[in-house]
Amino acid sequence: MFHDANALLLARFQFVFTVSFHFIFPSFSIGLASYLAVLEALWLKTGKTLYLDLFKYWLKIFAVVFAMGVVSGIVMSYQFGTNWAVFSDRAGPVIGPLMAYEVLTAFFLEAGFLGVMLFGMQKVGRRLHFFATLMVAIGTFISAFWILSVNSWMQTPTGYALNADGQFVPAAGWAAIIFNPSFPYRLVHTVIAAYLTTALAVGAVGAWHLLKDAGQAHARKMFSMAMWMAALVAPLQIFVGDLHGLNTLEHQPAKVMAMEGHYQSHPQGAPLVLFGIPNDQEQRMEHAVEIPRLSSLILKHDLDAPLEGLDRIAPQNRPPVKVVFWTFRTMVGLGFLMLLLGVCSLLARAARKLYGWRWLHRFALVMGPAGFIAVIAGWMTTEIGRQPFTIYGVMRTADSMSPLAAPAVGASLVAFILVYFAVFGMGVWYLLRLMAHAPQPHEPDLPNAPAHAAGITPGPALAAGRRGELPHG
């Protein structure tokens, strides 16, 4: 397949750009949808309007996040074809059906119930509304299931054969494709990441309002809930991440070598490189700060275990270490900071100072964006670590591209960059403005909730009856 190197580089950059921007939103909306379901359930169970206030507060934020996730997601579903036509043609028979299932089982479910979730409480009553919220939350999870199955298959392809046209076709039943070796680990790691990311964002908003008024009841509640989540889930995430890493070592050793910065093999005990400056040209780590044998202990649970380095991988199959090494450290470093925040919150709780320690609130505030950064860093680690392949070991990135000239990809890249920064930049600004207002008693509804004239449709009496149950904004 002929194309020039610039076009390839631009197309890769375009994918990184559009998918990174996109994934910020679902990693927030997966967590927020579940959080909203929990808040609504608590409201239904306890009858406390505090939970309803918090629900309405976060629902407004969810609406904006979800809209940005949808529009940036549609771009992704076509990006495969525009820039990666050869990949789409060859991998379509395997990954296409999984993505079609994502649309059929998840996207429609979310979209179908979103309208009721956002605008329908006064029309359908509490229980049916809660059902709609649950469907949206479940939809976000099902969506993660399918798209992570697709991604995992590209990392650890199984259950396929190649036909005469060079297409990957299913060969051993769909279970072998869907439940490929890295899928369970990636799914759990990613979903927990979404929950953790959301907890940190919610915690930061709570902390911000506690810093302004430590007595604010709503801020206290959301801060407390978020800190429980951080304290419980951050250690779990580190444990799951470790399992995911061991799975990667088994199936994609070159990626782990890049993450660890191991250019050379270590026949007896490999050091853990804490920091260093990777030099891909000369394939060596400069200014390395190392802890002897620790890498062998972490990856093989044995101080003396031998670990192979990139010198065992054919040069044309080596991933670039420079980026992977640093994105991995960013993710892990932030993960341990999240753990620290969780532990501090437990200490504060034990000392009955959860709402009193201002330094804890400042810490939580600073950690607000940490989840998003860690998620992006983690995805860059796993995606760049898969290079130079799109389908690990079997299809090269260089052979996956559409027959595009550099100017075409460059022009569309510039368009994406301009539009995304303008539109999503404004969106993030609106989100921050929403978050800057403290949630209040009798939190108002969405401003654009469409009211339908009563009395025209057959069921106004029923609707009016239900309306009476609801505390008004």
């Binding site: 046209d165 299913p170 995304y420 654009n448 025209i456 449709t457």
Partner: protein
């Protein structure tokens, strides 16, 4: 018809259904976006947007099913089309970004509401126009070399594709006006009726122009339309259109709410059948047939099981969601 041909045809039918659902459902959303500047700032615009706020996201999902389904069931066609339609496709995607976020952003930023209203209109217009352009580009033929697109970057741009682009803009606008006539009352409804009186003849003219121009594209179109058994359908078209036009005019005169919308939907359905006759059995006219582009039977079967169960389910809860938001949208759409 052997099993794999049947399977492939079934998938062609499912995708055609998805595209049709997208065209009519996001069609009226986009139409409202295109007509937005005509409506008065304030109540009228708010009402127009509120009438689709709960459903636009679901409507747009059919587009994702169209794209995802094409990749899954006909990966070769997906890969060739996406490269061939590169520029209009990316323009459409970016336009849909503006259109989609405007639904939320205009409420979040009253000081800049006019900016997001403009984004809503521009996004809707460009999305509709590029969709029409892509339809035209497909009908006029796409150069294929081996298993890839073999043409140039501006092949899609011809007078014919501009005509189809403009036609889709007209058709969507009519759908949007008919939707508002159904979902609103008072001044906004009267306003929509005035728009329908202009847009209906424009849309009919556009359909006629595209139909005639298609025959002049060369290839097999003339033969397809006027050979047996297609001619049995073709021959009815003038009669059906005449009847529908008469019914439309009558329902407008009698101030019917729903009828004009339903009649417009039937006109779209009829045009869609016409497209089917023009295309079948090709997916890319004169170069790639459905059969040649088809994914292996195992892929298509796997998805068919899901589609058979899930599409009816989706239609059911989508209908429920429309039912929840039934009736006229009140002017005072605020709390």
């Amino acid at each position: 018809m052997d099993e794999s041909t049947l399977l492939t045809n079934l998938w062609a039918a499912i995708l055609a259904f998805a595209v049709f659902m997208y065209v009519v459902m996001d069609g009226f959303d986009l139409g409202i976006g295109i007509l937005f500047p005509v409506f008065g700032v304030g109540r009228e615009r708010d009402t127009a947007m509120n009438s689709i706020a709960p459903v636009w996201d679901g409507n747009e999902t059919w587009l994702v099913l169209g794209g995802g389904g094409l990749m899954a069931a006909f990966p070769l066609a997906y890969s060739v089309l996406m490269s061939a339609l590169y520029a209009p496709l990316i323009a459409m995607l970016l336009a849909l970004v503006f259109r989609g976020v405007a639904f939320e952003f205009r409420w979040r930023d009253p000081a800049h509401r006019h900016v997001w209203d403009f984004a809503f209109t521009a996004g809707s217009f460009i999305a509709a126009f590029t969709q029409g352009v892509m339809l035209g580009a497909l009908l006029q033929g796409i150069a294929v070399k081996g298993r890839a697109y073999g043409g140039g970057w501006w092949d899609w741009l011809t007078p014919f594709s501009l005509l189809t682009g403009a036609s889709v803009v007209a058709g969507y606008s009519l759908l949007g006006a008919c939707w508002l006539n159904w979902k609103t009352d008072g001044e906004t409804q009267k306003h929509s009726r005035r728009l329908m009186r202009v847009l209906a003849p424009v849309t009919l003219g556009a359909i006629a122009a595209v139909s005639v121009a298609t025959l002049f594209l060369g290839g097999e179109y003339v033969q397809r339309w006027f050979a047996m058994p297609a001619v049995l359908v073709t021959a009815q078209v003038p009669l059906i259109i005449t009847i529908l036009t008469w019914r439309f005019a009558r329902s407008l005169r009698r101030n019917h709410d729903l009828a004009p919308f339903v009649i417009t939907l039937s006109v779209f359905a009829l045009s869609f059948v016409g497209l089917g006759i023009s295309m079948y059995p090709y997916l890319i006219p004169n170069s790639i047939t459905l059969q040649a582009a088809a994914a292996p039977a195992s892929s298509q079967t796997f998805m068919l099981v899901g589609a058979a169960v899930l599409v009816p389910l989706i239609l059911a809860y989508t209908a429920w969601s429309y039912w929840v938001f039934r009736g006229k949208v009140a002017h005072e759409g605020y709390h």
